[in-house]
């Protein structure tokens, strides 16, 4: 893929290699999903059969996996062979319940169970950041003091109430904060970290490609 980056896909096969490889990756990744389902069923199934601690929750996990997956995979019409066989057994009126379209079982479970649960977990961040800030933002050293002062200023600047408060000290203070903190220090630090991380990733990738780093494969 590195080589194909430099060759024209319209003129050479090697230029098209990147697209071909990406397609293969997509196909292989699809098969690994099956591996994941086996793992989750095996681990949780074993806990259920042995009646281990919290086995009802593990049973709920396994049931949930199949409750969402099976209706989504069932045919929505009799246009395919499987669809014709399926709807020769079951009524055609059931078709709106299957697949992933609006009104299907999958859609309902996603909108009314999955999505609210995800939003709830994300909302918990507000509480956790408050407790983390209370515990961690201490002026223990010059660096820590600078961190907490900057955090306070930016937290004030990012909300209308705080901005109104800052404007009491000068109309253009929020604009200066945007210019010097966000577009100044922040951009410099972000760029430094991004460049450093990119170089680290490139070096790691090179070591992996040349076989110098093999730990991730379980070898030395």
């Amino acid at each position: 893929m590195v080589v194909s980056f430099f060759f024209n896909p319209d003129r050479t096969f090697i230029g098209r290699a990147q697209d071909v490889v990406l397609q293969w990756v997509t196909i292989v990744s699809g098969f690994t999903l099956v591996l994941g389902v086996f793992s989750i069923v095996r681990v949780n199934g074993r806990a259920v059969t042995r009646r281990s601690e919290d086995w009802p929750f593990k049973l709920a996990t396994v049931v949930s996996v199949f409750a969402m997956a099976i209706p989504a995979m069932l045919p929505v019409s009799a246009n395919t062979t499987f669809g014709r066989v399926f709807y020769s057994i079951f009524p055609q009126s059931w078709s709106s319940m299957f697949g992933t379209g609006t009104g299907s079982i999958y859609d309902w479970l996603f909108n009314y169970l999955d999505s609210p649960m995800m939003e709830t977990m994300f909302a918990m961040l507000a509480f956790y950041i408050a407790s983390a800030a209370y515990r961690a933002f201490r002026a223990r050293s010059a660096d820590a003091t600078l961190l907490l002062l900057t955090a306070i200023i930016v937290m004030l600047w990012r909300v209308p109430m705080g901005e109104a408060f800052l404007r009491l000290f000068g109309e253009s203070i929020p604009d200066y904060l945007n210019m010097f903190i966000m577009n100044g220090f922040n951009v410099a630090v972000q760029r430094g970290i991004i460049i450093g991380a990119a170089l680290g990733a490139a070096s790691m990738s090179l070591r992996v490609m040349l076989g110098i780093e093999r730990t991730y494969m379980g070898k030395g």
Partner: protein, 275 residues
């Protein structure tokens, strides 16, 4: 244990309770401080506003349902702006879990308000795996990547897609995301195909995006719910982001209060111990 030591080791559940109150109170007592517009948000707004009416723009729904509180107001405000200018909107998502269905629901709801017709004024392409391949593929042919839209209708049956074949036919790409897909929109679509890209991201991701705006690789930026509120203000609607600013303001002030109290306690207990 003295008062200050107890304060330093307070049960975190008291903190959670105060945060919950700070979120709840603005629902009852509405304050609505004015939302000031940042330079980056204005840049994005003007980039869309200066496009000719009836231009074709792409709006991406690259966020999970968990981040909807911050990102959905951005998508809604962007759609209102685009439809009010009679722009043609092509939507897609690179998030398999929920992205395309959020796109479908939101665009249809907003389109009804502006009497826009599916297939003529807007199209939802849906989701395809491997976003790197998708972004590269859309440069040559949208139909090759998305032979049909989210509902399964072949693209050739949609009048809008007769004239939108690839990136050349799209004037602007507005990315609404809560993850690293924005990096790829910039490094692939803007850098390699020269398409202007603007984005609305969650507040956590926004600081990283400033470097792209500064380098000219991104045209404008909306950061978090505040960014969404700024866009809503610029298009003149009192949406959910503006209404949510009260709660956000109170919680920010509360966290600042905690930091100050924590540091006062820290210094007082340090002073007592003679350190």
């Amino acid at each position: 244990m003295g008062f200050w030591d107890k304060l330093q080791h307070i049960d975190r559940r008291w903190i959670y309770l105060l945060v919950a109150i700070a979120v709840f109170v603005p629902m009852v007592v509405v304050m609505q401080f004015p939302v000031e517009i940042t330079q980056e948000a204005r840049q994005l707004f003007e980039a869309i506003d200066e496009l000719p009416d009836s231009s074709v723009v792409m709006l991406t729904f690259d966020y999970y349902p968990s981040a909807m509180a911050e990102t959905q107001p951005m998508s809604i405000a962007a759609l209102r702006h685009m439809f009010s200018k009679d722009m043609k909107v092509v939507t897609l998502s690179n998030i398999p879990l929920g992205g395309p269905s959020i796109a479908e629901r939101v665009t249809r709801e907003i389109a009804l308000e502006y009497n826009k017709e599916y297939g003529i004024d807007f199209v939802n392409l849906g989701y395809k795996a491997n976003y790197v391949a998708v972004m590269h593929g859309l440069a040559s042919s949208i139909e090759a990547i998305f032979p049909s839209d989210y509902s399964g209708t072949p693209l050739r049956d949609l009048p809008l897609m007769d004239k939108v074949k690839n990136y050349r036919d799209i004037e602007f790409i507005f990315v609404v995301a809560d993850n690293a897909t924005v990096d790829y929109w910039i490094s692939i679509v803007n850098a390699q195909y020269g398409k202007p890209v603007g984005s609305g991201v969650t507040a956590v991701v926004a600081p990283k995006m400033y470097s792209f705006v500064d380098a000219g690789q991104m045209t404008g930026l909306l950061g978090g719910m505040k960014g969404a509120a700024e866009y809503e203000r610029m298009i003149g609607i009192n949406g959910s982001a503006i209404r949510g600013m009260d709660a956000q303001s109170l919680v920010h002030l509360l966290v600042i209060f905690f930091v100050i109290v924590g540091n006062v306690g820290f210094f007082m207990s340090r002073g007592k111990d003679g350190k």
